[in-house]
């Protein structure tokens, strides 16, 4: 099977410091690939380049074979690339339902004039968006809170809201940036189940996650970053045995988990 998303020699430098350097890997359809690495390894920066927020200084990103490097995020969304954020980026003043409805933007686009006049076409689109947004909220278990403002919700709920919103785009590939960060064990379990379910439905997933248990369990393929460079990749069991990975990442991560448990 050919690759859906290809990352080819991607790199970026901030003020002369290479935050990500010459990273390559691929994600196939319906596959879960996880990017792991210690804090500051460049994972989020990598995501920001793939999703068009940062302009890479070297390398290419290809989606279904066509070059999408540094394309505007809204154009990437049209091609079926969607993402969530490590630091929540929800629309706080809007209801949960409206948040997810925004994810339907590309399907409900009309003219500003027809929206001002409240023409039937415009209202029909709003109703259609609301229906499918409600279904998505139900899928992440938030349908009961559909009409509450997002800013009143808990962190864990908003993490799921972001996933529902990203799914509303009907993406071919979904980038999840630490979807379980800050969530308790129950919430993590739910997100775990949700991610597996999304992948089963045929959506490719690129995941950044600190919860190693989660990553090892659901990923088909791991990419390990350290200091902006790829130091290993492969199946989870194989990567876990890689001495370089253990030295650079797992050792430090073990310490982190101890700190985490204490805190």
């Amino acid at each position: 099977m050919s690759a859906l998303l290809e990352i080819d020699g991607l790199g970026i430098a901030f003020g002369g410091i290479k935050a990500v350097d010459d990273v390559s890997f691929a994600v196939r359809e319906g596959e879960i690939v996880s990017v792991i690495g210690p804090n500051g390894a460049g994972k989020t920066t990598l995501f920001n380049m793939i999703s068009g927020l940062y302009r890479p200084s070297q390398g290419k990103v290809r989606l279904k074979g066509s070059d999408i490097t540094a394309l505007e995020p809204h154009l990437l969304a049209r091609r079926g690339l969607s993402r969530t954020f490590q630091n929540l980026q929800v629309f706080g003043e809007m209801t949960l339902l409206e948040n997810v409805m925004v994810g339907h933007h590309l399907r409900e686009k009309g003219g500003v004039l027809s929206d001002l006049l409240g023409l039937p076409a415009s209202r029909r689109k709003t109703r259609a968006s609301a229906d499918s947004a409600l279904a998505l909220l139900a899928r992440v278990g938030l349908e009961k809170a559909a009409y509450r403002a997002a800013r009143t919700m808990s962190y864990g709920a908003l993490k799921r809201l972001e996933i529902a919103r990203a799914l509303a785009l009907d993406p071919k590939i979904l980038l999840l940036d630490e979807p379980a960060a800050g969530c308790n064990a129950v919430e993590t379990e739910e997100i775990d189940r949700l991610i597996a379910e999304i992948a089963r439905a045929g959506v490719a997933i690129l995941l950044v996650e600190h919860d190693m248990k989660l990553v090892m369990k659901i990923s088909a393929h791991l990419v390990v970053l350290d200091h902006g460079r790829k130091i290993a990749e492969g199946a989870p069991t194989q990567v876990a045995r890689d001495p370089q990975v253990i030295a650079a990442y797992l050792g430090q991560h073990g310490q982190e988990q101890v700190l985490h448990a204490e805190g």
């Binding site: 927020l53 505007e72 995020p73 969304a77 629309f91 409206e98 925004v102 009309g110 929206d115 009143t152």
Partner: protein
């Protein structure tokens, strides 16, 4: 009943009922002035409240609308109604041209760029005296509506006529803005207000939507300026000045820039108070300044939304 319909109903009832409490005919004029300001402020609700983009120069568009009504009938032979449309078209065109580069800016930078735009417009209106009459202003032709009604056998005073006309346009403007709120475009605007980054990744062309909000709000300001000119039959460059821009924004944030009804409430207070309390005149700037500071510190959502929250108790939603 949907909130949209409730808002429109309240607004219509207030416009219709208020004259029964007027002690004198003078109050029709104040009412008309309130509605005319409210039109511009409704436009700012779309720009500031929905889309989260500040403008400190919208009086410039009011100036374009006003001077279109003064100049187009004389120089182009257009009837005043067509002049309103011409002014709106010019404002929209200018907003579209200038909006493209400056709406990429954020926060302070956008504030200053729009402020500069407004001041440039008022500067042109002051300086090109051979066209605009300069700082002393220029006479504006009659709309002709009163004469038309008289010919149809309906005698109506100027105050009453402008009260009705401006009230009608205001309600129309509110209806459009309320439609927008709950539409795909409205959600896109509110989304980019909440998080521009997330809005972009949701497929929203942020630049295009900001531009739409800017152009639409410029048209509101332009129509407001046109009506002001036609009602007063005289217009000066002050209509486009910095103070007028600031007044518009203050009205919007005082009432609550997130809601159409709130903003109209703000326009009502800030228009009516100086008219009714003439002693107030000497302190007008100080009071305006104080209101701006105090509201922002203590009622950042504006008077009406804060009041509603109080009434509904702490649960908020």
């Amino acid at each position: 009943m949907k909130p949209k319909h409730l808002s429109l109903l309240i607004l219509t009832l207030l416009v219709v009922a208020a004259p029964f409490f007027f002690p004198s005919g003078f109050y029709y004029r104040i009412g008309a002035l309130i509605f005319i300001n409210a039109i511009a402020v409704t436009g700012l609700v779309i720009l500031i409240g929905y889309a989260g983009q500040i403008s400190l120069g919208h009086a410039g568009f009011a100036g374009i609308g006003a001077y279109a009504c003064a100049l187009a009938p004389e120089h182009l032979g257009l009837p005043p109604v067509a002049a309103i449309l011409l002014g709106a078209a010019l404002s929209a065109a200018l907003a579209w041209l200038v909006g493209r580069p400056i709406l990429r800016l954020h926060g302070y930078y956008l504030g200053v760029a729009t402020l500069g735009l407004g001041i440039l417009i008022s500067m042109v209106l002051s300086n090109e005296a051979q066209w605009t009459g300069g700082p002393d202003g220029i006479a504006v032709p009659d709309l002709g509506l009163r004469g038309l009604l008289r010919d149809l056998g309906w005698r109506v005073g100027a105050g009453e006529l402008w009260y009705g006309l401006a009230g009608l346009v205001m309600i129309l403007g509110a209806w459009l803005a309320l439609n927008l709120f709950d539409s795909p475009t409205g959600r896109a605007l509110r989304a980019l207000h909440g998080s521009e980054v997330a809005a972009r990744t949701m497929g929203i062309d942020v630049a295009r939507h900001k531009l739409h909000a800017f152009v639409v709000s410029a048209v509101y300001a332009s129509v407001s300026g046109s009506l002001l000119a036609l009602m007063n039959r005289l217009i000066t460059p002050d209509v486009a000045g910095f103070m007028h821009s600031v007044q518009m924004v203050t009205m919007a944030v005082l009432g609550g820039v997130g809601s159409v009804l709130g903003a109209i409430f703000g326009a009502t207070i800030l228009t009516a108070l100086p008219q009714l309390l003439t002693v107030f005149h000497q302190y007008e700037h100080m009071v305006l300044g104080l209101v701006m500071i105090l509201v922002m510190i203590f009622l950042p959502d504006g008077l009406l939304p804060s009041l509603m929250k109080r009434l509904r108790g702490r649960d908020g939603e």
